[in-house]
C-alpha cells in the first residue's frame, strides 16, 4: 500500500507563496485559514545574513498525535497515510490543535463562513467552496486527497514554480520522493516528537 508523502527542497523555495495561494484557491478556505504557508527565518547580522523559507503544511504523520488524542474519531488516517478530519464527527474540542507539534491545524470559528473575504458578501466561488466546511470544527490540509484520488498531485505541488515541492509514494523506493530523501538526506521536522511525518525537508 502506498504511503503518500512530500519532499520540500529548501534550496529551491523562493518564498513566493504561490503554494499558499494555490491551496486557498483549491480548498476555498476563508480569510485567515491557511492549510499551507511559507514561513521565513532570518539569522545573522549584516553583512552576514541568511534567510530561509520554510513551507509548512500538515505532515500527515505516521504516528499522528492528532489521531491519538481525538476523542470522537473525527481525525482519522487513510490506508495511504493521509490524515483527514470528518467534519460531521468533529466536536470542536481542539485537542488535536493542541497536540499537533507543528501547529498545522486550525479551528473554523463561528461566523467565519458567513463573513467571507468581503465582510458579509460571499462571492459565487465562496458560496460553492464554503459548502464543504462547517463552523466550530477543526480544519487542516488534506494533501488534496480528492486530487490524489484522481491521480493528480496536490495543488501546492502542481503550482510551485521552483519545483521545491515533490509529492509521491514513500513506500516505493524508486519514487522521486524516496530517491530525494535517500540521496540528499531528507530530514523530518521535529523528529524528536516521534511522530514520523510524511513530509521531509532537504537542503
Amino acid at each position: 500500500m502506498a504511503r503518500y508523502g512530500m519532499v520540500i527542497d529548501l534550496k529551491r523555495c523562493v518564498g513566493c507563496n504561490a503554494c499558499t495561494v494555490a491551496c486557498k484557491a483549491e480548498n476555498g478556505t476563508p480569510p485567515g485559514i491557511f492549510f499551507t504557508k511559507v514561513l521565513e527565518q532570518v539569522a545573522g547580522q549584516y553583512p552576514i545574513v541568511k534567510k530561509k523559507y520554510v513551507p509548512v503544511l500538515c505532515n500527515h504523520c505516521l504516528n499522528a498525535p492528532c489521531v491519538r488524542v481525538c476523542p470522537s474519531g473525527a481525525t482519522h488516517k487513510r490506508e495511504d497515510g493521509i490524515v483527514l478530519v470528518d467534519y460531521n464527527k468533529c466536536i470542536g474540542c481542539k485537542a488535536c490543535v493542541v497536540a499537533c507539534p507543528y501547529k498545522n491545524r486550525e479551528l473554523m470559528p463561528e461566523g467565519k463562513l458567513k463573513e467571507g473575504h468581503f465582510k458579509g458578501y460571499l462571492t459565487p466561488f465562496e458560496q460553492v467552496k464554503y459548502k464543504k466546511f462547517q463552523e466550530g470544527v477543526v480544519v487542516k490540509c488534506t494533501f488534496c486527497s480528492e486530487r490524489v484520488d484522481q491521480g493528480l498531485e496536490p495543488s501546492c505541488v502542481n503550482t510551485c514554480p521552483a519545483e521545491a515541492r515533490v509529492f509521491g509514494d514513500l513506500h516505493d523506493p524508486e519514487s522521486k520522493v524516496s530517491r530525494l530523501i535517500r540521496q540528499r538526506g531528507g530530514i523530518q521536522p521535529m523528529s524528536e516528537a516521534n511522530t514520523d511525518p510524511s513530509v521531509y525537508y532537504i537542503e
Partner: protein, 292 residues
C-alpha cells in the same frame, strides 16, 4: 557560527515560537471546577458529610461539564467524546466523570455503614482521585508543548484538588454550614497543603529551567513576560503568600470573614495557575534555530 534568538511570533508567516491559544479560559474553568469538586468530594467522604459530597458532585458535573460544553465548537455532538477511550485522554476524562458521578450517587443513597456502603465509599474515593488527576494526563498527553509534557502535572492536579476541597470545606465548617464528625484540624491541613502545593509548583517550574528551549520560553513568558504580573499577583501573592500568612497568623481565630478570605484567595490562585499554564503553552519552531 552565528545564530539568532528564535522570536515569539503570532499568526504571521515567520518561523518562531508560537503560543497555543485554543485552550484558554473555559478549559481553565473546567479544570478549576473539576479540581474543587473532586477535592470537596474526597474530603466529604473522608469526613462523613454527605451534603458536601453531593455539592462536590454537582460542582464537578455542572461546573466542569458546563465549562467543557461551552468550550466545544459543536456542543450538540458532545456524546461523541465518549467514543475513543482506547487512545484519547479527553474521552477517558468524560468516562471517568460519568463513572465518578454514578459511583458517587450510589454511595450517597446507600444506607450509611452497610457493607455495600463501605465498598462504594472506597470506590467513590478512588474515582474522585482519578477524576482529580485525569486532567493532568489530558495536558501531559500533548507532545507539542514541552511545558505540559511532564508526568508531574497529574500529581500537581491532585494536590491542587485536595487544597481546593480543603479550602471550601474549611469555610463551610467554620461558617457553620457543615459539621464534621472526626475531629480534624482543617487549619493545619490547609497550611500543609498550601506548602505542599507551593513546593510542587516550584519544583515543576524549576524543572523547566533545564528542559528544552521551548519549555524555557514558556517559563520566561510566565515569570518575566506578559503573564508575570498575573502569575506573581494572583498565583504567588494571593494564592500562596496571602493564604499562607492568613492561615498561619489568623486562621480560624480570625473569624468567618478571614476564613472566607483565605478560601477566596486560594480559589483565585487555583484558577489562575491553570489559566496561566494553559496560556504560556508554547510550540517549538518547526525546523529549530537557523544558524550560519
Amino acid at each position: 557560527m552565528i545564530s539568532q534568538t528564535v522570536p515569539m511570533v503570532g499568526e504571521e508567516f515567520v518561523m518562531g515560537y508560537r503560543k497555543q491559544s485554543v485552550w484558554s479560559k473555559w478549559i481553565a474553568l473546567a479544570f478549576f471546577f473539576g479540581k474543587v469538586g473532586s477535592g470537596m468530594f474526597i474530603l466529604a467522604v473522608l469526613l462523613n458529610t454527605p451534603l458536601i459530597a453531593l455539592a462536590g458532585l454537582v460542582i464537578e458535573n455542572v461546573g466542569k461539564g458546563g465549562a467543557l460544553l461551552i468550550h466545544l465548537g459543536r456542543p450538540a455532538r458532545f456524546w461523541r467524546a465518549m467514543t475513543r477511550p482506547q487512545s484519547s485522554w479527553i474521552s477517558r476524562t468524560v468516562w471517568v466523570m460519568g463513572i465518578f458521578t454514578v459511583i458517587g450517587l450510589i454511595y450517597l443513597v446507600l444506607p450509611a455503614g452497610s457493607p455495600a456502603w463501605q465498598i462504594f465509599k472506597v470506590l467513590a474515593l478512588v474515582s474522585a482521585v482519578v477524576v482529580a488527576i485525569t486532567d493532568g494526563f489530558v495536558m501531559n498527553d500533548s507532545p507539542a508543548i514541552p511545558l505540559w509534557n511532564t508526568p508531574m502535572l497529574p500529581f500537581l492536579f491532585l494536590f491542587y484538588s485536595l487544597l481546593g476541597g480543603t479550602s471550601v470545606f474549611f469555610f463551610l465548617v467554620h461558617g457553620g454550614w457543615a459539621s464534621i464528625t472526626p475531629l480534624v484540624d482543617l487549619e493545619t491541613l490547609e497550611t500543609a497543603l498550601i506548602i505542599i502545593n507551593l513546593i510542587g509548583v516550584a519544583i515543576y517550574l524549576g524543572s523547566m529551567v533545564n528542559a528544552t528551549a521551548t519549555a524555557r520560553e514558556s517559563l520566561r513568558l510566565l515569570i518575566k513576560g506578559p503573564y508575570s504580573g498575573m502569575f506573581f499577583g494572583f498565583v504567588v501573592a494571593i494564592g500562596f503568600i496571602l493564604t499562607l500568612v492568613l492561615t498561619l497568623f489568623l486562621g480560624a481565630s480570625g473569624g468567618t470573614l478571614v476564613v472566607g478570605l483565605i478560601t477566596l484567595a486560594d480559589l483565585i490562585g487555583h484558577f489562575f495557575i491553570f489559566y496561566l499554564l494553559l496560556m504560556v503553552g508554547v510550540y517549538s519552531p518547526v525546523l529549530g534555530k537557523l544558524t550560519i
